[in-house]
């Protein structure tokens, strides 16, 4: 079967050094989360294609398990998919997930598009990770093959790098990005 998404449909994910586009999305039916509110601490954005994939090899279940490690870095983990709030609520309850699942539902996939990780032909997002520093700059990003759970090692390494450089030192990342071609 021909994949629905062709090369030209996939725009590339925002890279380290880029300002993270702000957003406000629903976390379940009753709560909204804005990226700007989380300024001052690292944020992990985990875009994933859809709620409810097989249990034991499942990315969100793994992150749920590793949550205490993310919290050691005072980092906030946000899962994002194009699923609606009710679907997210059911999924969250079924898996006992203890972090926000945001609905990039209306307009569909808008946040994912802003981050360059929307799969136009498929109508869902890439399996993509972003670590954003306390000043709102992307310090690390990674797009995994859609069927491969990327695990958490990359996130932890990015958080370690942030904490060793000082979380709020946004200048350093700007400099790094400016010298990317060196």
């Amino acid at each position: 079967m021909k994949p629905l998404t062709t090369e030209k449909d996939v725009s590339s994910a925002l890279a380290a050094g880029t300002k993270a586009p702000d957003f406000t999305l629903n976390d379940g039916p009753d709560r909204k989360v804005s990226l700007a509110e989380l300024r001052g601490r690292p944020v992990i954005l985990a875009f994933y294609p859809a709620d409810c994939s097989p249990v034991c090899g499942e990315q969100m279940a793994l992150y749920n398990e590793i949550l205490p490690e993310f919290q050691r870095f005072n980092a906030e983990l946000l899962g994002i998919s194009v699923d609606g709030v009710w679907c997210h609520r059911a999924y969250k309850e079924a898996r006992n997930l203890r972090f926000p699942l945001l609905s990039d539902f209306e307009p569909k996939g808008e946040v994912a598009r802003n981050y360059g990780v929307y799969r136009q032909g498929d109508g869902f997002t890439e399996r993509a990770l972003f670590v954003i520093d306390g000043e709102g700059l992307i310090s690390w990003s990674y797009v995994s093959p859609i069927a491969v759970n990327p695990g958490a090692d990359g996130i932890l390494t990015a958080l370690e790098n942030l904490s060793s450089k000082g979380v709020s030192n946004g200048n350093e990342y700007r400099t790094q990005a400016g010298n990317a071609g060196r």
Partner: protein, 197 residues
Amino acid sequence: MATSIGPRLVMPVGKRDHIQGPENAPVTLVEYGDFECPYCAAAHVIVKQAQELLGDQMCFVFRHFPLTQIHPYAEPAAEAAEAAGAQGFFWEMHDLLYENQPMFDPPHLVAYADELGLDTRRFVREVESGVHRPRVREDFMSGVRSGVNGTPAFFINGERYDGSWDILPLVRALQSAAGQGPQIARPDYAHSRRAGI
């Protein structure tokens, strides 16, 4: 598909590990597993067969990767295996747990300890007080840092094995890593069954 160097084991096999088979065997299979995971229980049978087939050619190491948020008894089961290990019966408990999945509530765990002839008072004390929790967590985090992304996860000579863990593909991968070439294994299933696996 593009070939790339897959995730590798960051914590080398060492004295802290539970090891079956010769440590200097040409192939080392490390499993990150969760006693309450149904796929791990299925893989347990396959690993036993692989051990029979490879014999002294293979060394097997088990590390804990309990997914406690979806498996409420995964952590106590892992700690129960460690508590049995403290009395020299890790592998016996490891096997009992997989064979009796998912009956891991406290009375069952104590019954398994009793069945193995362990000092059950010590066993209960250690499990209840979480003596072995740091060890289980260390296993878990070493898995996370090695790129474990689900259970069971296998590493063959330090490299994550993403292939099928049906007996034939797994044994082929193990044999090839052991330097025996890609010959096709001929598992003696009858023999495996006799051996009680």
